[in-house]
């Protein structure tokens, strides 16, 4: 059994892990990155990247189908799922290759196999063929990420009952798809398969979609989805799933079925009820590391665990389970290991994007959160229907909502439903991190004609002086 001394071992090559490994390499550390699977983890292989390829494909399909509305007639739109899958895999492969190249360029060693602790400074990598190698290191970064939560009563079979990993690689488009869970993942797949031609039902136990999102944004999205013929049943539960030969019978009960159990037939069911941290088989006990009651590893601002020399980043540390959060943590941990002064994970807010159609992107406090924290609010809203640019894109569903502190005018949150919201939200991130006020945003010249100028309008609306909409009360203008 080969044993090798290195400076650091990173377990997991997902977005958090590869950021940590590359940064450690940049800082001159001898680092090995271990993953049982490919480089890139869920993000590159199963999550962010392939789903966004699917979303793009399905968006093209929708544009083609609706082309006649803007003078482009496409006689027939066929979805060739094999072609779609090839495109998706090409995108994934190119990204994985890119990270592998960065590993090489930054002297990051790459080990495929199951990483587990022998002791706190020793990691054993067991390969598929049963052979193993051992790495000794002063520092070990745990970046093993998360996996979809399975519901015991409805075990995933990959054919009729799916989880998100299956839905990314689906060989055909189901006619009728039931999505259990109205969170980010549920709504993104609902959008993909709806645009590719499936009839989609989303069942959400909670009163609103996207729990935790600004209520107005979540309700607006609910209406938009309904307009797109996605059936959304909130305050509703799936009570039973009965698998048949090629279909599943689902018993649904709640507000969506007028509180009477209703049995419906679907071709496939996607279970998207959440994700959980993955720390199985890691041998954490051998490193002397314990999980908290929710299964997460507790860390400090530099992502140090309770065991000196062991660091943890990404989904396993809790907080928003998002790739960009893990990436930041990876860089922070790597720099802390290298002894750079002052590094810390201390975002004002972590942005969040939901790839519905149109997209939702949010950063900072929702109206409800801000109120709960005791702020008096100054809110500025701008409906996308008033945007010339949105209209020219033949998109007018959506809104921009800015939440400010009435006392200081400082921005507390930005919430967007719009095409390209994913990119628009960058302005909100910078504004929050820099402590910008609504006035700052309103006074900054935004380019015309764009969607971003609607952010400026929303900021001006907060002070009762938006140009492109009627301001609610002229008296409010006196406030500033």
């Amino acid at each position: 059994m080969a044993e090798q001394q290195v400076d650091a071992v990173v377990i997991g090559a997902g977005p958090g892990g590869y950021h940590a490994a590359i940064r450690l390499g940049q800082l001159g550390k001898k680092v090995v990155c271990v993953d049982r699977d490919a480089v890139g983890g869920v993000c590159l292989n199963w999550g962010c990247i392939p789903t966004k390829a699917l979303l793009h494909v399905s968006e093209v399909a929708r544009h083609a189908r609706n082309g006649a509305e803007i003078g482009i007639e496409v006689p027939q739109v066929n979805v060739n799922i094999a072609g779609v899958q090839k495109f998706t895999m090409d995108v994934v492969t190119a990204n994985v290759k890119g990270v592998e190249t960065l590993f090489k360029g930054n002297n990051v060693q790459w080990a495929i196999g199951e990483g587990s602790f022998v002791d706190k400074n020793t990691v054993k990598v067991t390969k598929k063929d049963g052979s193993s190698e051992t790495y000794k290191a002063r520092d070990v970064v745990i970046a093993t990420g998360g996996a979809p939560v399975d519901v015991k009563a409805w075990p995933r079979d990959g054919k009729l009952i799916l989880n998100s990993d299956d839905a990314v690689r689906l060989p055909s488009v189901p006619k009728r798809l039931l999505v259990i869970g109205g969170g980010v993942i549920g709504l993104e797949f609902a959008t993909v398969y709806n645009r590719m031609g499936a009839a989609v039902t989303v069942v959400e136990m909670m009163p609103n979609l996207l729990t935790g999102t600004d209520l107005e944004i979540s309700k607006t999205m609910g209406r938009i989805l309904k307009k797109q013929k996605i059936e959304v049943l909130t305050n509703t539960k799936v009570e039973k799933l009965e698998k048949g030969a090629s279909t599943v019978k689902a018993t649904i009960n709640g507000e969506g079925t007028a509180n009477k159990p209703e049995t419906r037939e679907y071709d496939q069911v996607l279970v998207a009820v959440g994700r959980r941290p993955v720390t199985d088989n890691l041998g954490l006990e051998k490193a002397g590391l314990a999980l908290d009651e929710k299964g997460f590893i507790n860390v400090d601002a530099q992502r140090r665990t309770s065991v000196p020399g062991i660091w943890a980043i990404g989904d396993i540390t809790g907080g928003p389970l998002l790739a960009h959060k893990a990436m930041k943590e990876g860089v922070v941990a790597a720099e802390a290991i290298a002894g750079l002064p002052g590094v810390a994970y201390d975002p004002v807010a972590v942005p969040n994007c939901v790839y519905t159609d149109p997209e939702i992107a949010t950063v900072g406090l929702s109206e409800e959160e801000a109120k709960a924290q005791g702020y008096e609010l100054r809110i500025g809203k701008f409906p996308l229907a008033a945007s010339g640019r949105a209209r020219s894109m033949h998109e007018s569903d959506g809104m921009i909502k800015l939440i400010g502190d009435k006392k200081t005018d400082v921005l507390l949150g930005m919430h967007i439903i719009a095409p390209q919201a994913e990119s628009l939200i960058g302005e909100g991130v910078i504004a929050l991190e820099m402590g910008a006020t609504l006035e700052d945003i309103g006074l900054s010249i935004h380019p015309h004609p764009t969607l971003t100028e609607s952010i400026q309008d929303a900021a001006e609306a907060a002070h009762g002086k938006a140009i492109h909409i009627m301001n609610p009360k002229p008296a409010a203008a006196a406030a500033k």
């Binding site: 601002a301 002052g342 590094v343 810390a344 200081t408 400082v410 991190e433 820099m434 402590g435 006020t437």
Partner: protein
């Protein structure tokens, strides 16, 4: 039973201390009165003895960190005791002084430097010459919630151990800018009474760094000097007067007296004569032995003649004080200079050694140079520069002759000392140096 050890008040009117070095590390056992930490204050560096025997179970400050008097510094007790619970209950015992909040053990309290707002700026080595009544130290600003600061400023603050919740932001909506952190670091954060009248200085240009450069932390005595020198320049109206003195008589006198001094174990230096001559001149010109309290609109005329001597040490310049020079002989002064210089270089000065100076002499005579313009040691109003003695050609009775010559310089605060007084004062010193026998009468 664990107990919190607070930053001690190591000398009168000292409000904060810098942790220079942990002599004992976390987890180490200390005996009673065994030094466990080295603290530098405005006045002195002290190895602080343990209050009783026990284990140092938690250090609450990093080396180089400045804490106000009364802030939790370390926890003594037995291993395994619950430090966090203790810190949660911790109430500063020290009345009146600003105390740090209970720190999260992972991140000890940041710099809370908020020096007393006093009319007279306190130099590293000189106490506020006035009683500290009415000069209470201000409570540090501490805001609830998130400090408004850009990510780069937050990083900068962490790199400098600054807790931004204690920093007052000068930007719009109270946004904290880099210069706010800098001002806080230089200990001037507490002086925020009239921001409208005193606009924030422009941000200093970033200092370029080349690949061959090396950065060292600014700490200890160097940090204090870096902070105090511009403060002094900013406070006083520095004005310079330079003259020359014929030291031939004094050189001869010293040569004659040296063996007698050595017999008593004292090295008779020129500096001792300079001190003696200065005291005589100070007695004659009380406004040079004085301080200016602008806030109280008062001139403080000193009743004592305590002359500080600038001493070069490895860590930087420090100024021990010879007290009551008017009551001391030249020999006594020389012996006191030797003791203080050695204590300064060994880091063994006591608070009493550096307190209550009324005038300072800066001696670069043994090093070289023609003459210097020394910076006034606040809250004094003048400082004498003493330089090498060399044979130089001068004109005596129409002929060029070689004499033992030196330059003497006086930097004086023109707010209180006018040019004519400065010239008279310096002339008196020169007269005594040139006719050292006069020291018997006037000294």
């Amino acid at each position: 039973m664990a107990e919190v050890y607070e930053m001690p008040e190591l000398a009168e009117s000292v409000v904060e201390g810098e942790v220079l070095r942990w002599i004992k590390q976390e987890g180490e056992r200390v005996e009673r009165d065994e030094p466990f930490v080295e603290i530098m204050t405005e006045k002195v560096t002290v190895e602080v003895p343990a209050p009783h025997a026990g284990t140092l179970i938690k250090l609450l400050a990093k080396e180089g960190q400045v804490l106000p008097v009364g802030a939790p510094l370390a926890v003594f007790g037995e291993p395994g005791e619950d430090v966090e619970a203790l810190l949660k209950r911790f109430k500063p015992s020290h009345g009146g002084q600003a105390a740090a909040p209970v720190p999260a053990p992972a991140e000890p309290p940041a710099t809370l430097a908020a020096p007393p707002v006093q009319a007279i700026v306190v130099p590293p080595n000189v106490p506020a010459a006035l009683p500290a009544n009415g000069a209470a130290s201000p409570q540090p600003v501490h805001r609830e919630g998130r400090p408004l600061a850009a990510p780069a400023i937050r990083l900068y603050a962490r790199q400098n151990d600054v807790d931004l919740t204690f920093v007052e932001g000068s930007g719009p909506s109270g946004r904290i800018r880099r210069e706010d952190v800098d001002r806080f670091l230089s200990g001037r954060a507490g002086v925020t009474a009239a921001p409208a009248l005193a606009p924030a200085p422009a941000a200093p240009a970033a200092i370029w760094r080349g690949p061959n450069d090396r950065a060292e932390p600014l700490k200890g005595l160097r940090r204090v000097i870096a902070q105090r020198m511009p403060q002094s320049k900013h406070t006083s109206a520095h004005t310079l007067n330079v003259d020359e003195a014929d030291m031939t008589a004094l050189v001869e006198l010293r040569k004659r007296l040296k063996p007698a001094a050595e017999a008593q174990g004292v090295k008779l230096t020129y500096l001792a004569f300079f001190v003696k001559a200065t005291v005589a001149a100070l007695k004659k010109h009380p406004y040079v032995n004085a301080s200016l309290d602008e806030a109280a609109r008062e001139i403080i005329l000193r009743g004592d003649y305590n002359v500080g001597i600038a001493v070069d040490t490895e860590q930087g310049l420090t100024v021990p004080v010879i007290h009551h020079t008017d009551r001391r002989s030249v020999l006594d002064i020389a012996s006191e200079i030797a003791r203080l210089a050695e204590a300064a270089r060994g880091g063994k000065l006591t608070p009493a050694d550096v307190e209550r100076g009324t005038f300072t002499i800066s001696n670069s005579g043994s090093i070289g140079g023609l003459f210097t313009a020394p910076v006034i040691n606040q809250p004094e109003v003048a400082i004498l520069g003493v330089h090498p003695i060399k044979l130089r050609p001068v004109v005596r009775e129409g002929a060029i002759v070689a004499r033992e010559m030196t330059y003497v310089s006086l930097t004086y605060d023109h707010r209180l000392v006018d040019g004519a007084l400065a010239v008279r004062f310096l002339s008196d010193i020169i007269r005594l140096l040139e006719s050292p026998e006069m020291l018997l009468i006037e000294g």
